[in-house]
Subunit: 241 residues, 2 copies
DNA sequence: CAGTGGTCTAGACCACCAT
DNA sequence: TGGTGGTCTAGACCACTGC
């Protein structure tokens, strides 16, 4: 028998990690197809069944999508299967259709909490984006985002305004940053004066505060977001399994 | 070749559904072990691999738990793997430990929205439970529950008070109703007077409103719940995948 | 029709648990 | 030590896609 394996993680898990590393390195871009199961089995020296198991895990994590008859593809926010995977706010009645209004896009230095969340050195430069989401001419969401400048060099108001799709699709297409998962912390808060003005509600109005930390491949945090949701005619939907 | 199969769902899916039906029928109770893979394969006339696939799906849905070396067991809220699977409110700082205070337990007739949510006829009898959750002598959650009386006959304040564990463990042990999954709708609301008094906050204080519809085997709704969470020192945590 | 993923089987071997 | 689930393989056949 050949060399001793440390017998740490199962083979399908090692292969999964190797594929994630290749995705992080950009070997296959979002929307592109991966090699076939047989080709990957050859590459990793494993059986097709073991590679399939690794790909099934990646499918469950939404890192790839499989289409019978055509292949395995890197997930993309450009033409997503699930259009609003990361926006859980849904109208009480009909379908959702938001319009976006960009408020500002500036370069500034990370405050201590922002640097901590994003894993940056204190005062490292970040880009702050502020915007409003409207439905039927009424503001519903006030969003503030902070992004490490080193990952989003060249992000300006013009770049955002000239892009039609979702922000995460822009990040992916223009900066090669694909968002994989996120953690959110929800609270009920009283609307501060400035937010109240923008959302056209009285100061002190109860709002749903949603703090999100979003991660790219390899669990690297690359976006901190703070949303204030007006929940008079919308709600945040969550499924517990 | 023998009879034509309609070729509807794959075999592992059919087997999954048969096992769910057996769970719903109470063939194996929460905490008990299922037959081994080999025995189930024999029973359903399939290979071990196919039965394994069905059991893997049920594991992902938290309907069963598998323990290497000892067997496959029906999930239970009595000794859960994940202690707070359905309570997403976590303290900002340290660990969670709630004490419960029962406010009331009464029998009444379902209002229209309650009947609709639970799939009952109008004015069918339901049991209403109201309670407070405290941490460090401070009220944090005001909970109201509505349960179909036909499924929870004999549920009284005394029954609740005499039970040490979680409510869902009580429901399972005493009424044979195991909660499988739930949908929640979150909003920020202003504390109504009565809730404000109970939670010891000013009237109008922003609170996180959590409406939950919980389902048992076969997606049958059996509990409607309305929680008002004080989120000054706690937050609702959610992971987006 | 060739190539892809999806299903199903059979069997070997390993890791873990109970006794 | 026997029984359980966990991993890995090899191969057959099916269903779907795209040329």
């Amino acid at each position: 028998m050949p060399s001793r394996k440390p017998r740490s993680a199962p083979l399908y898990e090692q292969i999964r990690q190797l594929i994630v590393a290749a995705l992080a390195a950009g070997e296959w871009k979002p929307g592109e197809s991966l090699p076939s199961e047989a080709a990957l089995a050859e590459r990793f020296g494993a059986s097709a069944g073991t590679v399939r198991r690794a790909l099934d895990e990646l499918t469950a994590e939404h890192l790839v999508e499989r289409r019978q008859g055509s292949g395995t593809f890197v997930s993309t926010h450009a033409a997503p299967r699930q259009p609003f995977r990361f926006l859980r706010l849904v109208p009480d009645d009909d379908a959702q259709a938001f319009t976006r209004e960009l408020l500002s896009c500036r370069r500034l230095r990370a405050t201590a909490p922002i640097a901590l969340a994003l894993g940056l050195r204190p005062a490292e430069p970040v880009i702050e984006v502020r915007r409003l989401l409207h439905r039927r001419e009424r503001p519903v969401v006030l969003d503030e985002l902070w992004l490490p400048e080193k990952n989003f060099e060249g992000l300006t108001a013009e770049v955002i305004e000239s892009h039609a799709g979702a922000l995460y699709a822009l990040f992916e297409a223009r900066f090669g940053v694909h968002m994989v998962r996120a953690q959110e912390q929800l609270r009920a808060v009283a609307a501060p004066r400035q937010a109240a003005v923008l959302l056209r509600v009285p100061e002190g109005q109860p709002l749903l505060s949603v703090e999100r930390l979003a991660f790219t491949y390899g669990d690297r945090p690359v976006e901190l977001r703070r949303g204030l949701y007006l929940t008079d005619h919308d709600h945040y939907r969550n499924d517990l399994n």
